[in-house]
């Protein structure tokens, strides 16, 4: 890992302004990974809303487990999948703070399915940032609940077979029918324009919580070039051409009353 000063130097050379809510640490993510982009846009959103000093995040067990090294905010760890329960505990005893959980698809849609469904159903006034990369990154590229049919992973070497492995889960649509969910949107981080859109969704999610309007979740379709076994460029194309067909981007539910 390059030193912090090296990171700062390279920021300067590239004319890059680091959001205050992002630390100087160089992330451990693979080249072309979506986590870094999403970390940054969340940091920008916190800076713009002026909530950095009152935000508490819950990091998942997954590639983003080291989130506490990257955001300049208070961060708690959570056991794998229990992230929304930990966020619930924090928010209920500190209702004046902004609380978000950041979760991968294994964390949120497999082992933590009960926790996310019930946090949404209770209408917990928290934000969930859900990183759907259709694979388990941290453990070496196994099938996730969001893995596409025919997608090869370490545990679906012949491709995901509906009969054997079931179907990809659409989390936003699953949560849409719960009366407790307020705002659900799916975005991608596949182009600068889409990243800006994704940031607008994050801002809206934070505002929903700041207004006390309840549960919001933003799902990010995010590249994992390493376990998609694709180049960074090809991974971006894969999102735009393949992933969006199974996980259509857009606002799934909006009861925020915001425009």
């Amino acid at each position: 890992m390059p030193s912090e000063t090296a990171a700062k130097k390279s920021d300067k050379q590239r004319g890059y302004r680091r959001p205050h809510a992002l630390t100087d640490a160089v992330t451990h993510y693979c080249p072309g990974c979506g986590h870094g982009i999403i970390h940054r846009l969340l940091a920008e959103a916190m800076d713009e809303l002026g909530i950095r000093e009152k935000t508490i995040a819950v990091a998942p067990v997954g590639c983003a487990v080291l989130g506490y090294d990257y955001w300049r905010i208070d961060v708690s760890e959570a056991p794998h999948g229990r992230t929304p329960a930990v966020a619930t505990g924090i928010k209920r005893v500190q209702p004046d703070k902004i609380v978000f959980s950041y979760q991968g698809d294994g964390d949120l849609a497999a082992i933590g399915t009960a926790e996310i469904v019930h946090a949404a159903n209770r209408g917990e006034n928290i934000c969930v940032f859900f990183v759907n990369n259709t694979v388990y990154g941290m453990t070496g590229g196994q099938m996730a609940p969001t893995t596409l049919l025919a997608q090869q992973t370490q545990t679906t070497p012949g491709g995901r077979d509906q009969v054997v492995h079931g179907n990809p889960i659409r989390v936003c649509e699953l949560l849409e029918n719960l009366d407790g969910s307020t705002y659900l949107e799916r975005v991608t981080v596949s182009s600068p324009a889409n990243v800006r859109k994704a940031k607008r969704a994050a801002l809206k999610a934070f505002r929903t919580q700041m207004d006390g309007k309840g549960f919001s979740l933003v799902e990010f379709l995010s590249p994992c070039p390493t376990y998609w076994r694709m180049s960074a460029q090809k991974s971006i194309k894969h999102i735009d051409e393949v992933l969006v067909k199974v996980f259509p981007p857009g606002v799934i539910k909006d009861q925020t009353g915001q425009e």
Binding site: R72, D74, E77, G89, H118
Partner: protein, 353 residues
């Protein structure tokens, strides 16, 4: 001045004691025989303007506790045996993250779904950590409803002081029986400052609470620090009670409901001229090895009545170190020995030695 006494079940008394101890948040999932506790908290916590959630599972409940604990608040959950098994993952994380929390286990018959009758078969789970990794939890075993009150209040203080979870291990009979109790002697809660709590990085550096330490040397540091904490707890927090040990030739070691039944058996044995004394562990971890070690110098044998096939007996044997015979007696499956059964066991053992 006579104390104000109220008639309460153990379960309700545990709840009220937690409230007197200043519990900020309670999270629970229904399971018999501790339902009266969750039900009690469902209205008392709201009356007090504090947090109550009936969670979707014990997994969620213990992790909500974790969330409240990282916030620096006093948090509690309760359950019975199968539910405690589910909480063990979270308890291991609480221990690793050096977080205070109180967990009440109103033990029922097991293994598996077992039944809803009282048992003491979760002793190993309660005193050995129970979950994965190198950790311990403070474990307190009340034997009266009043002691449920006093030990719950103490559990909050100890758990804050040592930044480690504390377990109340009471069997289903204690949870559901009624006795008069008082709360008059409990002072106002005095939780310590918690500068480590996650309250937002306002005017200070960001901080995090975690249990992941990829570098073995760093994790080893945590393991060693925890070990030092446990050593301090072992030095300072051992609690037990003795009864008629001065002239005892036979020593019963029993906790919780088994200790209550043992007292009556003891009285009858003494009527017959058998000099029986009792050592009653109150802190099950840290365990009162020393008084048992001392008793081993003078009594002929030990008898350990338990509502299990013999779990605490291992601690008694660790203390006795083979110097005297140590016998087990007890009923299982949710049954509770009666005094006559324990008296019979005393007589049988007398013949054996």
């Amino acid at each position: 001045m006579s104390a104000n006494k109220i008639l309460m079940t153990g379960n309700e008394a545990i709840g009220e004691a937690a409230i007197r101890a200043g519990v900020d948040a309670y999270f629970g999932y229904p399971i018999t025989p501790q339902n009266e506790l969750t039900a009690y908290m469902s209205h008392r916590m709201l009356e007090e303007g504090r947090v109550f959630i009936q969670s979707e599972s014990e997994l969620a409940a213990i992790n909500m506790v974790l969330g409240a604990a990282v916030s620096g608040k006093r948090a509690m959950t309760s359950s019975s045996s199968p539910g405690i098994s589910l909480k063990q993952e979270g308890i291991s994380y609480l221990a690793a993250m050096e977080l205070p929390a109180v967990i009440a286990n109103i033990v029922r018959g097991g293994p598996g779904l077992g039944n809803i009758a009282p048992a003491q078969s979760d002793y190993w789970q309660g005193t050995r950590g129970g979950g994965h990794g190198d950790y311990r939890t403070i474990c307190l075993g009340p034997s009266t409803v009043q002691e449920c009150v006093d030990l719950v209040y103490l559990a909050f203080d100890l758990s804050d002081k040592y930044r480690t979870p504390a377990v109340i291990l009471a069997d289903g009979r204690l949870g559901q029986m009624m006795e008069p109790v008082t709360f008059d002697h409990l002072g106002p809660p005095s939780p310590p400052e918690k500068p480590w709590a996650l309250t937002g990085a306002k005017g200070r550096e960001q901080q995090s609470i975690k249990s992941l330490f990829l570098d073995p040397d760093v994790l080893e540091e945590l393991n060693l620090r925890l070990a030092r904490t446990y050593e301090k707890i072992e030095q300072n927090e051992v609690r037990w009670d003795t009864l008629q040990m001065d002239d005892a030739e036979v020593c019963i070691v029993a906790y919780g409901t088994s200790a209550r039944v043992s007292k009556e058996a003891m009285r009858r044995a003494r009527d017959e001229g058998i000099k029986v004394g009792l050592i009653r562990p109150i802190s099950l971890w840290p365990y009162p090895y020393e008084p048992i070690r001392q008793a081993a110098e003078k009594v002929q044998f030990f008898l350990v009545p338990e509502m299990s096939m013999g779990q605490m007996i291992e601690d008694v044997r660790l203390a006795v170190e083979g110097k005297r015979p140590v016998y087990h007696t007890g009923r299982v499956g949710g049954n509770v020995s009666n005094p006559k059964e324990i008296l019979d066991a005393i007589r049988d053992c007398c013949e054996k030695v």
